[in-house]
């Protein structure tokens, strides 16, 4: 199967369809519900990639949770050619002394996640755990607390369910493999 999403994006195959994703998200939600029963939990989604996973996962958690979102980006900096990573949308809820679950779409090297953890830790939560839809354990460089993940992936170019290629394809309801890197 080779679907042409637009002129530049060639989808090779669907890796996880809607049904598989829904089933796995439901399982993760049940597990998180069990693990945090009786505890105060704040779930923080990472803009923009996690938006669909975050939306489905939080609705699969059967607890009175609070939710928020965090965004970050590369900001030009006069003292550095590469710029610096800065929070572009910070969380608004108070997380001090609370359990925090950070929701990502995909974790590969873990460098961006490590940055987020460093930032959230400065707000002194009780603890931080991570949930990601996709995890590439072979590529993980950082020692970060990934407790929940939907599927393990290898080195392929994926798209859909929040993952993009040049900002296109995030709204596909399934996760697909691209025929080639864009």
């Amino acid at each position: 199967m080779s679907l042409i999403l637009d002129d530049a994006i060639d989808i090779k195959r669907i890796v996880y369809d809607e049904e598989a994703i829904a089933k796995r998200v439901k399982e993760l939600g049940a597990q998180i519900t069990e693990d945090f029963r009786g505890e105060e939990l704040i779930v923080v989604g990472v803009i923009k990639g996690s938006v669909y996973f975050f939306s489905d996962l939080t609705r699969a958690i059967d607890l009175p949770i609070k939710i928020d979102m965090i965004g970050f980006g590369n900001i030009p900096d006069t003292t550095s050619k590469t710029g610096v990573v800065k929070i572009t949308k910070d969380i608004d809820v108070d997380i001090s002394g609370k359990h925090v679950l950070v929701v990502e779409d995909v974790i590969r090297t873990g460098l961006t996640t490590a940055y987020l953890i460093q930032n959230l830790e400065s707000k002194q939560p009780k603890d931080i755990t991570l949930a990601t839809m996709l995890l590439n354990p072979d590529r993980l460089l950082m020692t970060i607390p990934v407790k929940y993940y939907g599927f393990e992936i290898s080195d392929s170019w994926l798209l859909g369910y929040g993952l993009d290629s040049k900002e296109v394809g995030r709204n596909l309801p399934y996760i697909a493999e691209l025929a080639n890197k864009i």
């Binding site: 990472v46 803009i47 923009k48 990639g49 965004g71 970050f72 980006g73 590369n74 550095s80 050619k81 590469t82 710029g83 610096v84 990573v85 590969r108 090297t109 460098l111 961006t112 490590a114 940055y115 460093q118 590529r139 993980l140 460089l141 950082m142 020692t143 970060i144 080195d155 993009d164």
Partner: protein
């Protein structure tokens, strides 16, 4: 994290810096007044005499053969430092008194006479001439105290790790510099202690010189993410000959203190990658609790890509 000694000129904001740091680190300040109130028993007379005469510190404490007031001062401060995660010692010749400790950072706070005069005049509502006299007398007293007790000139630059001139620096800016230094010192002490316990070699004092552009670029990536790094802080011997001489060693490129993780970059041919993987595994086997990860070419390239078009 550290014991911070602060030596200061009168009117240099050294006291304010000590207060600010104590608040940030949630720790105590051992100052002259604290020492007088708490170290020498309940006799106010002795405390007053010690306040007036530095020479009295060199005399024997009555009923304690061979023990001087200076000994009591030094021992009590060392005891408190041993029991505290953080401590600030303000004045008292702390930088000389504690010079044998590994966990000490010695700070000197200075400012020009003009700046100090203005500050004192404003604070105490006195004339510039009176302010100058206050500043000069205060400095002389500090100098005399240290000279008598420790036979050292406290204005000598080499006894300090960092000298801060507050002519153009705020207390907060000074505190940031001190805290950054204290953080790095704590990491350095931890690695030095590890190397004393096992066979690894500490070369943190070496200036980081990157071996190639990839390492320099990787350092930039870490900087971009605000992730603290150290370059090749340690060498791990991994193979020895029959006489115990080191045959093979491994020095991972980067150490990330926050994640207690060593990273080795490899952007070369597969045969070298295999060798590096083997070395990393050997380090983890021989030095339990040590985490080493290999950064492969594709990881590196992906990170560089992100510099060009940041994804998230």
């Amino acid at each position: 994290m550290a014991v911070i000694t602060i030596s200061r000129q009168n009117g240099s904001l050294g006291d304010e810096l000590a207060e600010y740091l104590a608040g940030k680190l949630n720790c105590a300040i051992i100052s002259r007044s604290y020492a007088m109130e708490n170290f020498f028993g309940e006799s106010e007379e002795i405390s007053e005499k010690l306040s007036d005469s530095a020479k009295l510190f060199l005399t024997e404490v009555s009923g304690q053969s061979g023990v001087t007031y200076k000994d009591i001062l030094t021992n009590r401060i060392n005891e408190i430092a041993d029991d505290s995660e953080n401590l600030i010692v303000l004045g008292l010749g702390g930088c000389i008194m504690l010079k044998d400790r590994q966990d000490v950072i010695n700070i000197r706070v200075i400012a020009s006479m003009e700046t100090r005069k203005k500050r004192i005049a404003r604070r105490y509502n006195v004339t510039p001439e009176e302010a100058e006299s206050t500043v000069t007398i205060g400095d002389r007293k500090h100098k005399r105290f240290v000279s008598i007790l420790f036979e050292q000139d406290l204005s000598e630059a080499e006894i300090y790790d960092l000298t801060l001139n507050t002519d153009n620096l705020s207390v907060e800016e000074c505190a940031q510099a001190v805290l950054a230094l204290a953080g790095r010192r704590a990491q350095r002490s931890r690695i030095s202690n590890e190397t004393e316990k096992d066979d690894s070699i500490d070369h943190q004092s070496d200036t980081p010189v990157f071996k190639n552009e990839t390492e320099a670029e990787f350092a930039k990536i870490l900087d971009m993410y605000g992730i603290e790094w150290m370059y090749e802080p340690k060498t791990f011997p991994i193979e020895w000959d029959e006489e115990g001489n080191i045959k093979m060693a491994f020095s991972p490129d980067f150490y990330l203190p926050k994640f207690d993780l060593y990273l080795e970059l490899t952007t070369m041919e597969q045969k070298y990658v295999t060798k590096k993987n083997k070395k990393a595994r050997m380090v983890m086997d021989l030095y339990p609790g040590t985490n080493v990860r290999i950064v492969y070419k594709k990881d590196f390239q992906e990170l560089v890509e992100r510099l060009k078009s940041f994804g998230g």
